[in-house]
């Protein structure tokens, strides 16, 4: 059984007991435990079920690479699936449940898949479930889906908050093991601004457990000193519980800080995403131990040798009473020694190497441990827990020499440097024959804008495994980072460590070497996804020879650990099957993040009310208080209408229109884009931007203008006012303000950079209010202060002055067909001016109207609306706006494009008005149908509706549309389609339904 040892546990604080539950059972642990160590301490080796066969799964590792021990953590708004027990620090009140089983962890029906495993080899689903055709969707897929997935689905909204940090450093060091610490000392003492991040709660990494001496001190004392030294350096920042998640182009690093996962009751954000720009990155990310591939290597109780050591020495937990150690290298002997020293039994060390180990082996033997060389495991016995191993010769086919009872197996297949962060941005690897692993190729680092490398691997992440070599390498890495910044090396010296030579490791990719199909079907590579040696060999046999094909065909390395334990073993098996050296097979691509990071952290503060900036006009609060119904328009909220008690939205819209047309209405037009274009070349510039001539506009006058893109399509419209000789104010659509400002700058900065023009987006500097209707003038006259008579301020003119004591600029422009003034006041005066207008308008029954009334009124008047009549494929000529296209100008944006054959094609659909015969409203988006079908069997069309409304003024449905030869077909009746297959008949009419001669607006 696994249990808590009475002594030991470097990470533990035994005076602080913590209670937690697992599958409803009450357990206790200590501060410093991970959930995995605490579960082991309570003899809970079984922690989950595998993905495909639902096989029982125990913890296999002790850190971020864990593929098995994934749990559902928490409840309600703090529930989280797929949490690794090995990286979950224990806190008081933690609740966890195991995943992917039904009805229970101990008894899982899904394990039937296991019994059928023979019929479910790699890729079996590509070969079956095909008949009958509908069966995949209705029978097979639902079954597959139901048994898939790991953790449960969160039900509630996340109760926590998240935040983003933006940070800038000279050197970012990822990994707070001894290598990271030494690199930080070296770079920091050279004067670099350094950030060192460590994903766990401790500095020191593996060395704290593995031991050794640095500078004459025990390594853990050295780690403590180094931590203090770094803390004292003002230019160095050290953060725990922070993972280097990804390296991106141009020295961009993503840091994922789990601020209070270990202390959920604390205040503040749960996770913090650091977005860092740095000059140099040192990856001191260590190495990960590899499992060995033997039959039954997935049975709970089979663990990585280093993890066993971590549990014994770090957490004071014994994974088993009798642990068999199996290895191809010296390092695993450390585990045997630890176990023995903790008073546990090690019945045998099986060393696959014929020649056995070095000094560590001698030490183990000295402790009385039996060591067998040239031996391996033929098969592990047991179901939900290891009960023993069958021993065989590594060189053979698995003939059993002896069976040894045990309840745990510690395995080591050698170590692979963590090269993920090195590789994210294109760093290349090479195959180190001696240690049988891929490591960073110093000649092919990821490069920055200057073509120079910006990532430096350090310590075990760079290949060396011996402490002395690690420290030397890390020191050099720190100095190299400083040097790349042009700094001189500081006073930090390379630490002194006595080398501890080890006997060479020997690669073992299959145990025993000659294992036949039966054993290979039981030798796991990917524990979570249930990929076995036999699956990889099958992939190779079927021609899925590229490592990417094998990965995808078998799902090797696609589990939540992204192949941290399985990939190298898998590609070694593939190479063997293909009879090619491992480097010829290569690796799959390393992609961020290093381990999964929460979506909450990525989204940061941007959620719910703060999801996107909300833009409000100065009058917004008034609208809200009036109960306006809002619609989002870009980042703005605009009142759609102002419904009164008992009114539907359409009632409200009709009322607003009627009152405006009859007397006077009020519109908050502040969202309208306002861009100042200023400079000696401003006129010339606007002549290029607009299709019409703007340079001839007189100060004091307004002109309606159209803007097209290079392809000739209409992109925006609005009224331009000339303020003075050098200054224009361009109105844009609400949604277009930022886009058009960017468009102007694009041309000014990239093409016409020598023109003397400045632009400024002043949309938010002004509140702009439209006073609209036959009584509009009277309302303004009541306010007084400015002569707003026809003679003093004619249609399409503007004037500065005062109204009711407010400084303002009044424009005589109209988007409704009525007598209309748009009055701009400084934004700070907007609300007060609005209120003043309301008082002045009271006797006329003046009321505000919203965007829908605006739309209907402009449609009644036959004015086009960008986004309705245009959709990015419409040119002004389609809309009968030829009058706004200057014939005199030599050039303007879109001119050349509008001369292309398709643009001048007379069969382009053209703007007309439409009146239904029965008075109904044509549905939005309807098409005018024509006879017959095209070559692809689609019904032919001859036009479409672009705006369609009920007009309260005309008391019937009106519409605008683009119709084939439309302007030449006045009076003709055509059919528009409905989605139910029926049609509605409409007559082609003039698009101006209201006040054709402009008698109302120009008074």
């Amino acid at each position: 059984m696994s249990t808590r040892l009475s002594t030991g546990g470097k990470y533990l604080n035994r005076s602080d007991q913590r209670r937690f539950t697992f599958n409803g059972k009450q357990f206790t642990g200590y501060e410093g435990d991970t959930l995995a160590s605490a579960l082991l301490a309570n003899d809970q080796m079984l922690m989950g079920r595998s993905f495909k066969y639902h096989r029982p799964r125990g913890v296999v590792a002790s850190g971020a690479e864990e593929p098995n021990a994934l749990v559902n953590l928490g409840t309600g708004g703090t529930f989280e699936p797929n949490q690794r027990a090995t990286t979950t620090e224990l806190f008081d009140g933690l609740t966890a449940t195991s995943q992917n089983h039904w009805p229970s962890l101990e008894f899982d029906i899904g394990v039937a898949n296991n019994a059928m495993a023979r019929f479910f080899p790699a890729g079996f689903y590509y070969k079956t479930f095909m008949a009958p055709r509908a069966a995949w969707k209705h029978v097979f897929e639902p079954i597959v889906r139901q048994s898939a997935g790991l953790g449960q689905v969160p039900k509630d909204r996340d109760a926590d908050t998240y935040e983003h940090f933006y940070a800038f450093y000279d050197v970012v060091i990822v990994g707070g093991g001894v290598a990271g610490l030494q690199a930080a000392l070296a770079a920091g003492s050279a004067g670099a601004k350094v950030l060192l991040m460590e994903q766990t709660a401790h500095l020191g990494g593996r060395a704290v457990i593995d031991g050794g001496e640095v500078d004459g001190k025990p390594v853990d004392a050295w780690v403590a000193d180094a931590g203090e030294t770094l803390d004292a350096m003002p230019n160095v920042t050290v953060r725990l519980r922070m993972m280097g998640a990804g390296v991106y182009d141009h020295g961009y690093v993503l840091g994922y800080e789990r601020v209070r996962d270990h202390d959920p009751m604390a205040e503040g954000p749960r996770h913090r995403l650091w977005r860092i720009r740095t000059q140099q990155i040192v990856t001191a990310t260590g190495a990960i131990e590899r499992p060995l591939s033997f039959a039954g290597n997935d049975i709970p109780g089979v663990m990585l040798a280093s993890a066993v050591r971590d549990y014994v020495d770090g957490y004071g937990v014994s994974p088993g009473d009798r642990t068999v150690v199996v290895t191809n290298n010296d390092d695993a002997y450390r585990t045997a020694i630890s176990l023995k020293k903790a008073g546990l039994e090690v019945p045998v060390i099986l060393d696959a190497r014929a020649s056995g180990g070095g000094a560590l082996a001698d030490e183990a033997k000295g402790l009385g441990i039996r060591v067998e060389t040239g031996k391996g495991i033929a098969k592990v016995k047991g179901g939900k827990r290891v009960t023993g191993v069958a021993v065989c010769a590594q060189a053979g086919e698995g003939a059993v020499l002896e069976e040894i009872a045990c309840d745990a197996v510690a395995m080591s297949g050698g170590w692979s440097p963590v090269v993920h962060l090195w590789s994210h941005c294109g760093g290349k690897l090479f195959w180190d024959e001696d240690q049988a692993h891929f490591r960073p190729d110093p000649n092919r680092p990821p490069t920055s804008h200057d073509g120079k490398g910006f990532v430096i691997p350090a310590g075990s992440a760079n290949g060396p495994m011996d402490l002395a070599e690690v420290m030397g390498d890390a020191h050099a890495a720190g100095l190299a980072a400083a040097k790349a910044l042009g700094l001189k090396s500081g006073k930090a010296a390379a630490p002194k460590v006595a080398p501890q030579p080890e006997a060479a490791m020997e690669p073992v990719w299959l145990m025993p070497q000659g294992a036949g199909p039966k054993l290979r079907m039981k030798a796991w590579l990917d524990y979570q996804n249930d990929v076995k040696v036999s699956d990889v060999r099958l992939a190779a046999q079927e021609g899925y020879e590229s490592v990417e094909h094998t990965k995808r065909y078998t799902t090797l390395g696609m589990a939540t650990d992204q192949g941290k334990l399985s990939n190298i073993n898998g590609l070694a098996v593939l190479s063997d099957a293909l009879n090619q050296p491992i480097p010829a097979t290569g690796t799959t691509t390393f992609r961020p993040p290093y381990t999964p990071i929460s979506f909450g952290a990525i989204a940061g503060e941007a959620r719910a009310d703060t999801f996107q900036p909300l833009r409000k006009t100065p009058i917004h609060d008034w609208h809200e208080a009036q109960g306006a119904f809002f619609e989002p328009v870009g980042h703005w909220r605009r009142p759609y209408c102002f419904p009164r008690q008992g009114e539907t939205h359409s009632d409200a819209v009709n009322r607003e229109i009627n009152q405006t047309r009859k007397s006077v209405g009020l519109l908050d037009a502040s969202t309208l884009g306002k861009i100042i274009v200023k400079g000696p070349d401003a006129g010339r510039f606007l002549d290029m931007l607009y299709t019409n001539m703007m340079s001839t506009l007189k100060p004091g006058k307004c002109r309606y203008g159209l803007m097209c893109n290079e392809n000739g399509f209409l992109i925006d419209d609005g009224v331009v006012a000339r303020i003075d000789e050098d200054t224009f104010l361009c109105h844009t659509t609400t949604g277009g303000a930022e886009r058009i400002h960017g468009w102007m700058e694009d041309w000014l900065q990239c093409e016409w950079w020598d023109w003397k023009v400045f632009t400024a987006n002043v949309t938010e500097q002004f509140a702009q209010i439209a006073v609209v209707g036959p009584n509009a003038r009277k309302v303004l006259e009541k306010l007084g202060g400015m002569d707003v008579s026809k003679d003093a301020l004619a249609f399409m003119e503007w004037k500065d002055g005062q109204l009711g004591g407010f400084d303002c600029r009044a424009y005589r422009i109209s988007f409704s067909g009525e007598l209309s003034y748009e009055i701009a006041v400084p934004a700070s005066q907007g609300r007060a001016f609005w209120d003043a207008l309301l008082v002045a308008g009271e006797e006329f029954g003046m009321m505000p109207y919203g965007t829908e009334a605006l739309h209907v009124m402009r449609a009644e008047k036959g004015f086009i609306m960008i986004g309705d009549e245009t959709d990015g494929t419409v040119i002004p000529q389609d809309l009968g706006l030829n009058w706004a296209i200057s014939k005199k100008k030599e050039d303007f944006l879109g001119k050349r494009a509008q001369e292309r054959p398709h643009m001048t094609d007379p069969s382009r659909w053209k703007l007309v008005g439409l009146e239904t015969l029965d008075g109904s409203v044509i549905p939005d988006g309807s098409y005018a149908i024509a006879e017959g079908t095209n070559a692809n069997g689609q019904r032919n069309t001859q036009g479409r509706v672009t705006s369609t409304y009920y007009s309260p003024t005309l008391e019937k449905g009106i519409a605008m549309g683009l119709v084939l030869y439309g302007p030449d077909r006045m009076g003709e009746v055509i059919e528009f389609n409905k989605v139910d297959g029926s049609t509605v008949a409409a007559r082609i009419v003039d698009p101006v339904f209201y006040d054709k001669d402009g008698e109302k607006q120009n008074v």
Binding site: N82, M130, W136, Q146, D158, M521, H549, P592, P593, Q938
Partner: protein
């Protein structure tokens, strides 16, 4: 070719699966082929397949610089739909969608086409009108779609937040027979079928030059030496510009990174595909349980097959807003592909300035769904030398004439 079936699996299980044959052969190139297709992505392989199946042309080589299916075909988020706005788009995407319906049976390879339904959310009045327009267009194009209200949206996808504070869901364009497929399987299924017809799929072989004589193509130079051909099809997506350069012409296309990401797997909670264009993101749940997520393209050209983190952030933010329960799920992996984007966001299938050299490209962010239709149309083009009705509008002369097939009209994000 030995057929795949449940019986075949049972037979093989009895002998430890030692009897399975290679899915496709791995031949050395011959000296000459009737047709060479450059690029063993979905479109290249489908083109070859329909050359054989519809026109009996089987002396064909498909040349791939990496591993087949390793381009965008093996990197995409596998959304299949045909609810396009413009007639010519709807025609080719619907042709493709309908071929997906029977692809598993046609290829005897389970491509897991799953018509689980695709919905495109309308979150502004403007979007509502836009999708209503698409629904009307689709009704005349023979594409079955429907505009549905918010309650129906919630019913089909309970994890959507329809009354979010910023962009409440006002409705959606719903295509019931849209869905997803298994991207690798599409490439592998076609490859197996092509190989079975005697075509040569030559992997790890890069085309480095296009040889011509008298204005007509005569062959290609590759990293495995020169290979002759009568006709050449360029089907290389993000590398189209490079290939066109070799063939001596320029393309109205840019290559940009498009990224996607997946979460860790969870139990099924989402049966449909949801696209939210106002906030810029889309999501579905794979049969493995991962939430599959994608967003927009990077704003700059590149060839690196990796993108910037900023886009990931933007996309995830949008989806946490749309599906609040995913906040505590984790991003497992992000990746990128280089997509070939034209000015009007529609593909190019047509002749090129070089005689007997044809091109299929410009699928941009949304060509997985088009694979069988694109292959069908390109095969017809190559076999007959002239485009058939499906491809007729897609020639690149449209950019000279100004005859765009603009789909951005209908949606901000196109997939």
């Amino acid at each position: 070719m030995r057929r795949y079936s449940a019986f075949a699996i049972a037979r093989e299980a009895a002998r430890y699966h030692t009897g399975w044959e290679r899915a496709w052969a791995s031949p050395e190139p011959k000296k000459k082929y009737d047709v060479i297709i450059v690029g063993a992505g979905g479109h290249g392989l489908a083109t070859a397949f329909y050359l054989g199946k519809n026109f009996g042309i089987t002396n064909v080589a498909i040349i791939e610089k990496g591993w087949l299916g390793g381009g965008n075909t093996g990197r995409n988020t596998t959304i299949i739909r045909s609810n396009y706005l413009q007639d010519s788009s709807a025609a080719i995407y619907e042709k493709a969608r309908s071929l997906y319906e029977t692809m598993s049976q046609d290829l005897n390879y389970n491509v897991m086409f799953s018509p689980r339904g695709v919905m495109m959310l309308a979150q502004t009045e403007h979007e509502v009108r836009g999708y209503q327009r698409t629904a009307h267009a689709n009704a005349l194009q023979g594409v079955k779609t429907e505009f549905i209200g918010p309650e129906r949206v919630k019913e089909l996808c309970p994890i959507i937040c329809i009354d979010g504070p910023r962009y409440p869901v006002l409705g959606a364009l719903w295509q019931e027979r849209g869905g997803t497929g298994r991207h690798d399987a599409v490439a592998w299924g076609y490859a197996r079928a092509c190989s079975d017809m005697g075509m040569d799929i030559i992997q790890k072989c890069e085309v480095v030059g296009v040889r011509s004589s008298g204005g007509k193509v005569v062959g290609v130079d590759t990293t495995k030496g020169p290979i002759d051909c009568d006709k050449l099809g360029l089907v290389v997506a993000g590398n189209s510009g490079a290939l066109a350069n070799m063939a001596g012409f320029r393309l109205p296309m840019e290559s940009v990174a498009l990224q996607a990401l997946v979460s860790e797997p969870i139990k099924p909670c989402m049966d449909v595909v949801v696209m939210a264009n106002t906030v810029h993101g889309y999501m579905s749940q794979s049969d493995k349980g991962e939430m599959v997520i994608g967003g927009g393209t990077d704003g700059f050209n590149n060839y690196t097959q990796r993108g910037s983190f900023h886009h990931i952030e933007e996309t995830v933010r949008a989806l946490v807003e749309t599906f609040p329960i995913i906040s505590r799920l984790k991003m497992l992996r992000q990746w990128g592909g280089i997509v070939d984007v034209t000015g009007d966001r529609s593909p190019v299938i047509g002749k090129t300035p070089l005689g007997n050299c044809f091109i299929n490209a410009g699928w941009g962010t949304g060509g997985f769904k088009a694979i069988p239709g694109g292959g069908w149309a390109t095969a017809e083009l190559i076999a007959k030398g002239e485009p058939g009705p499906l491809a007729a509008e897609f020639g690149m002369e449209r950019f000279i004439e100004g005859r765009f097939i603009d789909e951005s009209v209908a949606a901000g994000v196109a997939h």
